[in-house]
Symmetry: C2
Subunit: 275 residues, 2 copies
């Protein structure tokens, strides 16, 4: 099934725009898992088991596995997700960006080795660095567009003198992803939740692309404003929450509390549709 | 020792501006190593053993290890390089770029887990995504600036309307890396070899930053023009060659032929200094 269909099907099956980000930070793992790299799989699998019927996607962040040499646990986790939640697409958050031959290796890593359904990429090096991922026709690719970290404006908010209308860099990227770069309907965009007016702007430029929106919850984004700015019946948004769900409790009840937190965010997002 | 001192010391010790890129492509491994992921360490170690007295740096490309699950071989290779060539700095080519908390994990991966002396990064998400790497005061950080792949111009060659003089994006990056972003003298820039006039331009804007220059050899860059454009007694350049050295022979003599190729490039680069 094509990634976009997978997304839409998970969204309507679970009535959810929520994506749970799997960022297993050793220093924050609950109870006696804390500080133990070997507990990463068990922690993430418990979160997956507790939330998979509430989400439209999972998003493991590969850095948290690579930082402590836990690639084999990520492999197991991917298999576990495919088994317990075969209808929930998995977006591997990797933000890769490199020349064609190297991008082919990273595409192998994401799609063949880990079996991800989609990947996040950096567009800094241009279109030919995206192409090797598009060679996997059923897979999705989310390009960084507008990130809401403190330095997000350093480059992304610069106006381009040599493009008509002098769009900001992120606006130009939205235009490229909505047009010439989207050769096979596989592209989506990453847009932070901190500034809803920028989600709105990206939505104007790319009316139907799936938008992956991190930053609701711990990073301060407002769920209601996010849905209002980005969502429409044919305009999917995938709202990611990581820390607020993963670390809802530091005790033995972490999975139960994660479910409660996920339920709450899902309801808030769904309720925002009709506002 | 600080990374910049390490670089200069290796450069003068080996009279070399050459960096050998370790990109173990399974499809190109020589003889009966071909297609065998388990041969990656042996192949790379043989290249290191045959060339380490001729180079100023090694640059393993992490994608080639990640693509086939060979992280443990990369760990072994890093240890091997530290043992046989303790004076040769190792630049881990990873081109990471992510928010602060995630960047901390990638910094752990590059510096703690693999023991790299420097790393390549993408600047797309801004300064706060670079800072976690700068917290390791002896390590170096090469920011992508101007890449010479086909899509390198898509964003990097755009003129910025809201910066004085309307510099191109890559020129602005060179200014940032030479000024406000270089808080502790750890930054360098990645500039492709295909267009020497762009190396010259970056050198004007960042007179003394180390420039990592891939693309000499297989990617078509001209060694003589590269040295002329970028090198000076207090302006180090690190000229990377990967495929032309690694795959100089597809037979059992691959290491010997790699040494011959490395010698040739080193001599060509050194001879270009006086031109």
């Amino acid at each position: 099934m094509k990634f976009l269909d997978q997304l839409q099907s998970a969204q309507s099956r679970h009535q959810s725009m929520l994506c749970v980000g799997l960022d297993p930070d050793l220093a924050k793992l609950p109870g006696n898992m804390q500080g133990k790299p070997e507990a990463i799989f068990d922690f993430c699998a418990a979160i997956v088991d507790a939330t998979h019927d509430l989400v439209m996607a999972f998003k493991p962040q590969i850095a948290y596995f690579a930082g402590c040499g836990a690639e084999s646990q990520l492999e197991r986790l991917m298999q576990h997700m495919k088994k317990v939640a075969p209808h929930v697409p998995i977006i591997l958050d990797a933000k890769r960006g490199d020349i064609g031959a190297t991008a082919q290796q990273y595409a192998k890593e994401a799609f063949d080795r880990y079996g991800a359904d989609a990947v996040t990429l950096s567009p800094f090096m241009g279109f030919d660095t995206i192409e090797p991922y598009l060679a996997y026709p059923d897979k999705g690719v989310f390009l960084l567009c507008r990130t809401s970290n403190p330095g997000g404006s350093d480059l992304q908010a610069r106006r381009l003198a040599d493009i008509e209308g002098q769009p900001m860099l992120y606006e130009h990227l939205a235009q490229l992803a909505n047009g010439p770069w989207n050769t096979n309907g596989q592209l989506g965009l990453v847009v932070g939740a901190t500034f809803p007016q920028e989600i709105e702007r990206v939505r104007q430029l790319a009316p139907h692309l799936p938008l992956l929106i991190p930053g609701v919850g711990a990073q301060g984004g407002d769920a209601k404003a996010t849905v209002k700015a980005g969502w429409g019946p044919n305009s999917p948004i995938i709202v990611n929450s990581s820390r607020a769900i993963l670390y809802a409790s530091s005790g033995a009840d972490f999975a139960e509390k994660a479910r409660a937190a996920a339920l709450e965010v899902r309801e808030l997002l769904e309720a925002s549709k009709s506002v």
